[in-house]
């Protein structure tokens, strides 16, 4: 009896162990594969919904025609810049049109993939997507966004051209990806909130105002650092991928370099590109925090707002925190200016942009929202609420300018030079390759020349495999 019990125990233990292993293996494999098995269903953009009363309403006019019932679901990614939009604009929209809003926010990467899946599978989770402008090529090429002109929404000339051009697919200018060479540019999205890089600098370090050139910038900031006036002369984002490419962008463009030529050949490793990379990786790094390779926007913000850094080139959403005593220890000491120039003063443009989902369950209301939001007076409300508008009327409103001193600087930057990221659905992959190369050079302490050459080869091979050439 005892022996049999022991045998049973041994048997059950063996079985337990074997079953545990098998189940563990299956679960691990299952979880890996489940990641691949996610819906990626195809489907093209659905045909336009039937005409609506709202569709006939004239754009940019009063609100008498822009009325509706029910609700719209707006999705976006978490960003401080969407706070005034949420607090000021959405309640006003409900008040004026009678349409309720649901505003769903998710982390950046999560919303990017979720909204794309929603659009391709037409699951109808959202009516309107508020996107980052580099998403437009992927979303539009994937048929996720409704063409807007059929609803009477147009690219009004009251939008600054650099903003409204981002709403077209294929792009109105520059190289085009294969399959879209001969298509007419179609308006698929409208600018929501302006966002671009400007210089935030300490007025007790740069006493003569914003430095005009990068050489002047480095000298003044470096001297102040050596004199112990400030801990770091400059702070930038050094993390691989998008952060360091964003930091390099204004320097690279200012040196006269660019990412691609008209045939999608990588040219960022040109002589100008390498010189600009060397400037970032050596001269700017020398006056930056020693571990800047791990700095992302939160650490960059902490350094400039905490009073440790003399300057940073950052997007508007981060810059506007400078005057907020709850977030900044350097209130009154930080001013804004156009980015320095080497050959020209150019920064990166990265606006919020909205489009109607091709699977929108409340398409009529979404059209009403787009028309309502495009009015100049709403843009003025947006500017007064603390966001960067996307129409000149918002930039030029005296009340808004008196409340938010970044507005005229942003407009000056826009007029001076502001370029968007390349209009290709494959930019994010190219950006990771370039950003990894720059980050590696930053860590190793090289000038980035060899790394950029290798990155150019890798980007070209990647684009080649996708049929670019």
């Amino acid at each position: 009896m005892e022996g049999r019990q022991e045998e049973q125990l041994a048997l059950s233990r063996r079985r337990f162990i074997q079953t545990g292993l098998a189940a563990g293996g299956a679960l691990a494999a299952g979880s890996v594969l489940a990641a691949c098995g996610g819906s990626s269903g195809g489907g093209t953009s659905s045909a336009a919904a039937g005409s609506t009363a709202a569709a006939g309403a004239a754009s940019g006019t009063g609100t008498e025609d822009l009325k509706g019932t029910g609700q719209i679901i707006i999705g976006g990614f978490e960003d401080g810049a969407l706070e005034p939009f949420k607090k000021v604009i959405l309640p006003l929209f409900t008040q004026e049109t009678g349409i309720k809003t649901q505003f769903l926010l998710e982390p950046y990467d999560s919303f990017f993939s979720k909204a794309f899946q929603d659009g391709t599978s037409k699951s109808g989770q959202f009516d309107i997507y508020i996107m980052d402008d580099p998403w437009i090529p992927q979303y539009a090429a994937g048929g996720v966004l409704e063409p807007l002109e059929q609803y009477g929404l147009t690219a009004e000339d009251t939008y600054p051209a650099p903003f409204i051009d981002l709403g077209f697919w294929p792009p109105k200018s520059g190289p085009r990806v294969k399959g879209f060479e001969d298509q007419d540019p179609t308006l698929v999205a409208l600018p929501t909130i302006g966002d671009l890089q400007t210089l935030t600098y300490r007025n007790d370090v740069f006493t003569g105002g914003a430095p005009k050139t990068y050489d002047e910038f480095v000298k003044t900031a470096g001297d102040a650092q050596k004199a112990g006036k400030i801990k770091y002369g400059y702070v930038f984002r050094g993390v691989k991928g998008n952060p360091i490419v964003g930091s390099w962008w204004p320097v690279m463009q200012s040196y006269g370099a660019d990412m691609f030529d008209d045939k999608w050949e990588p040219i960022f490793n040109s002589a100008e590109g390498k010189a600009s990379a060397a400037f970032l990786l050596q001269q700017l790094k020398a006056i930056a925090p020693p571990d800047v390779a791990e700095y992302n926007s939160d650490q960059e913000g902490a350094a400039i707002l905490g009073g440790d850094a003399a300057a940073a080139i950052q997007y508007s959403g981060a810059a506007i925190k400078s005057d907020d005593p709850a977030q900044s220890k350097a209130v009154g000491k930080l001013d804004f200016g156009v980015t320095p120039a080497q050959t020209k003063a150019v920064s990166q443009l990265g606006i919020f942009i909205h489009g109607i989902s091709s699977g929108a369950p409340n398409k009529d209301n979404a059209v009403i929202f787009c028309k309502w939001f495009a009015q100049d007076r709403i843009q003025i409300e947006l500017a007064r609420g603390g966001d960067l508008p996307v129409k000149r009327a918002g930039f030029e409103d005296q009340q808004a300018v008196s409340q938010h001193r970044l507005l005229p600087v942003a407009l000056a930057q826009l007029d001076s030079g502001c370029t968007p990221r390349p209009r290709t659905p494959d930019w994010s992959e190219a950006e990771v390759i370039i950003g990894t190369a720059l980050n590696q050079a930053l860590v190793k302490g090289t000038d980035g020349s060899a790394e950029l050459d290798q990155a150019a080869k890798d980007v070209k091979a990647k684009l080649d495999s996708l049929g670019y050439y």
Partner: protein, 303 residues
Amino acid sequence: MADVAAERTRPIERVRGAGLEKVLPYLFLAPALLLVLAVIAYPMIRGFQISTQFYRFGRPLRSVGLDNYREALDDKVFRAAVWTTIRYVFFAVLFETLLGLVLAMLCVRELPFIRAVRLVLIIPMIVTPVIVGLVFRLLYASDVGLLTIISHNLGGGDVGLLSKEGSAFWAIVLLDVWEWTPLMFLILLAGLQSMPQEPFEAAKVDGASGWRTFLDHTLPLLKPVLAVAIVLRTLDAFTTFDQIYVLTQGGPGTSTQLVAYYGYDSFFRFQRYGFAAAMLIMCALVLLAFSAMAVRMLRRMDR
């Protein structure tokens, strides 16, 4: 009374009569089987199907057979990610096993407050991985991190663990060890507690030293449990994602880029569904092979 008994046996007889006797167990198993098929088999089949397609702009354009597998094998970033993952898993599981074993040996005895100590020891395991990543970010960050603050107080400089390729790798290994040693501890503690006491009592009578007893009795008896624990942790560590996403995003360079993170990037950010699926299926197959080998090894141990 007899009638009642006869009435009760009738349905069984009917079943036997209908020849369903053999089918009945399978019918009972069917719901569970269907569930397993839905949650495990379908994603696997769908994953494989995706891996044979060329996707562009989120849509499958054409079937490419095994080209995505070839491309993945040729991809130097994938190969680097595999190598980084192997090193990561090896060191993390090694340290977790050793530490878990030591802790289990210390906590197996019934000492005062030992239950409270055991409870405290398993806390890291129950914290959400993303939160663990955030906590370690606050620990490691070179500007406001706790390590930097301590270093400054001791007269040192910034501690930039995440800004150098070598230290960043060890930083994520350390995070994993902190989070998952408790799992090893729990499994090994259960193994130690279920051991028969006779061999240990005999060894004591024979005057064997603690080390000798550990080598001759504890370790051999613990081997099957140890093997299960190592295999389970290895499988789990291979799919580490959250902490990397929060802490390093695979950097600096590609020093902390694990397969799961590269798969995520390829699938969700770059929308290269076929390529990502091929990559992850290859990893899944390797893991399955590893599990199969471990099962065989355990069978041998049991014999």
